[in-house]
């Protein structure tokens, strides 16, 4: 278990402040945030590459402040993979074995195993500059995995890959976590990747943690405006929330929500895929009290689905519907549409990031 206890660090023009975080054994933990939020710095703090100014870093209750990088028995895979350009793929992978008490024979046996499982057999003699992005990533992973680290740290492992390798690499990481059962801490700015891979995570913004918890709860129950936007929440409107009723600023409409907290000056948000179309019996609304009639103002294709904007009085909604709705229900600008959404899909949150306690 890794525990970050009230860790702070100040750079010129940037600070990491009061970070409290617990990463449990066998977690696939994601540090999520936009570029420049401080998530990679946090990863390097865990690795020991950057010393922090205050707080404690504990691995299995042992304080790691004085433990040098090379003694931490963690492995870090960089975004650009940082393969040694003067060494072959095989020598890159075998680089660390001598420092971990792994005998040469054992090292070569592990190299064979990894080369087979990661498909590196044909490229073992090549130098890194002759490899594709996907191959480089697999070599960097093999170089870390051969040491059987207690924790694998991944810094934006998917962002430097071409789209053709992206899906393949995601599956590989998932497989590694499932098969080897190791703790993985991954830095990412892509919530889609995080949803697919991680079970827990923390959203970081400007050097502070906004929210930590299960990935599903981050996705479904963002508790701040920043997290809500980051996890893809739409239909965000300033609102006052009182006893399960949302009053949107500048509108007479009352929207029912199942959210508990009363917030005097907050926001509501609805995922576009949670808005259903009632016209012509397209979707079944259940007994939702939230029903609105309006006019379609814009329709934009987003590949597998269409983004539809509906104006209802002073409210503007964005919905995401299957492509076939264009054909089946004549979705087009200027046409009328009746929409609905359940109280459970109306999320409420505050304006400022909420600093979470220990996860």
């Amino acid at each position: 278990m890794i525990r970050l206890d009230n860790i702070s660090l100040t750079f010129p023009g940037f600070a990491i402040e009061n970070i409290d975080l617990t990463i449990r054994e066998k977690d696939f933990f994601a540090l999520i945030g936009p570029t420049g939020s401080g998530k990679s710095v946090l990863l390097e703090i865990i690795m020991g590459l950057i010393p922090f100014h205050s707080g404690r870093l504990l691995f299995n209750k042992k304080d790691m402040a004085q433990t040098p990088v090379e003694k931490r028995r963690l492995a870090l895979v960089y975004q650009d993979f940082a393969l040694f350009p003067h060494l072959s793929v095989a020598h890159n992978i075998l680089y660390g074995i001598r420092y971990h008490g792994i005998k040469k024979n054992e090292g070569h046996r592990r190299l064979d195993d990894l080369a087979n499982s990661l498909g590196l057999k044909r490229i073992l003699d090549r130098k890194p500059h002759n490899l594709s992005g996907g191959e480089k990533q697999r070599v960097a992973l093999a170089r870390a995995l051969i040491l059987n680290p207690a924790v694998l740290l991944l810094d934006e492992p998917l962002s430097a890959l071409d789209p053709e390798f992206h899906g393949e690499a995601k599956n590989l990481l998932k497989q590694i976590h499932q098969d080897m059962g190791m703790t993985i801490v991954m830095v990412s700015h892509n919530f889609g990747d995080v949803m697919y891979l991680a079970n827990r995570g923390a959203v970081i913004h400007q050097g502070r943690i906004c929210q930590t918890g299960d990935i599903t709860s981050l996705f479904e129950k963002p508790d701040s405006l920043f997290t809500a936007r980051f996890v893809g929440m739409k239909n965000i409107m300033p609102a006052r929330i009182l006893q399960g009723n949302v009053r949107v600023e500048g509108s007479d409409a009352v929207i029912a929500t199942s959210a508990v907290p009363d917030i005097d000056q907050g926001y509501m948000g609805i995922r576009p895929e949670d808005i259903v179309l009632l016209s012509q019996g397209a979707d079944n609304p259940g007994n939702s009290p939230n029903r609105f009639c309006g006019t379609i103002t814009r329709v934009a294709s987003q590949g597998m689905f269409v983004e539809v904007h509906i104006e209802s009085g002073s409210l503007n909604f964005e919905a995401a519907w299957p492509r076939r709705y264009l054909r089946d229900f004549q979705i087009a600008p200027g046409r009328d549409a009746t929409i609905a959404f359940s109280p459970q899909s109306v999320h409420v949150f505050q304006d400022y990031p909420v600093i979470s306690g220990p996860a």
Partner: protein, 256 residues
């Protein structure tokens, strides 16, 4: 545009080549061979080469840690240190000789201290090597610093995360990626040292290095007797610089 650039480049190339071609083609082949038979000339050239190479190797030993610090670390006064390292390129070299003379001469306590330790600077090989390092070290430090800067710090971090300590990281990652720059730095420093005259002539007229001998023969016997020694020195320097260019080319290819 290209032609205009060629027209303006020509005077520079001519300025560099014509006097040297004139001088190297001046002495007859017979005279050049005869000069090679002069034991004093051979000794002076060998001394220049040997002491310059010694200065280059000492620059390697003393300048590598400094180059690494300047490339990798940020610390107060770094710009001042960088300025100091570049200083020998700017100041007139007789001034270097005078500065060392004033410090290491018998009239200065430091000079007397060195003398009591058995280290003589004035009129010795030690003195010559000292001034050669002084004038050559900027070339070594700046070349090797650029080499260290060309190695991403992430590679060193990656090595540390794989279990290697700082020394092992330097030995297995930094050194293999920068040794060509170090060889380049040694050649640059050595080449600069071979040509040094102004500082050497003040600290040690004897034992005589090749540039001092060229000057002595010129003032004592005239152009005809100084030219052959100069030709051999030029050929030596040319060989070194061609080697330098080949090395730098392969270093660039290596990092690509």
């Amino acid at each position: 545009m290209g032609r205009l650039f060629i027209v303006f480049s020509l005077p520079v190339i001519l300025l560099l080549t014509v006097p040297l071609i004139k001088m190297t083609t001046g002495p007859s082949l017979a005279m050049l061979w005869e000069t090679l038979g002069d034991k004093d000339v051979l000794l002076a050239i060998a001394r220049s080469l040997g002491l310059s190479l010694t200065a280059g190797l000492l620059a390697f030993a003393l300048g590598t840690p400094l180059s690494y610090l300047l490339a990798r670390k940020e610390f107060p006064g770094k710009k001042i240190i960088e300025g100091i390292v570049d200083l020998p390129v700017m100041i007139p070299h007789p001034v270097v000789g005078i500065a060392i003379l004033s410090l290491a001469g018998r009239t200065h306590p430091f000079g007397r201290f060195l003398s009591s330790m058995g280290i003589e600077i004035m009129g010795t090989r030690t003195g010559i090597v000292t001034v050669l390092i002084f004038v050559g070290i900027p070339f070594y430090v700046n070349t090797v610093k650029a080499g260290f800067e060309s190695v991403p710090a992430r590679l060193e971090y990656a090595s540390r995360t794989l279990g290697a300590g700082t020394f092992e990281t330097f030995r297995r990652v930094t050194l293999p990626l920068t040794w060509r720059h170090m060889v380049l730095g040694i050649i640059m420093c050595t080449a600069r040292a071979i040509s040094e005259f102004g500082a050497v002539v003040i600290v040690a007229y004897h034992p005589m290095t090749a540039p001092v001998m060229i000057y002595e023969r010129f003032t004592a016997y005239g152009l005809k007797y100084s030219q052959p020694v100069a030709v051999w020195l030029i050929l030596l320097s040319l060989t070194l610089f061609i080697l330098l260019r080949l090395m730098s080319k392969s270093a660039v290819q290596y990092h690509r």
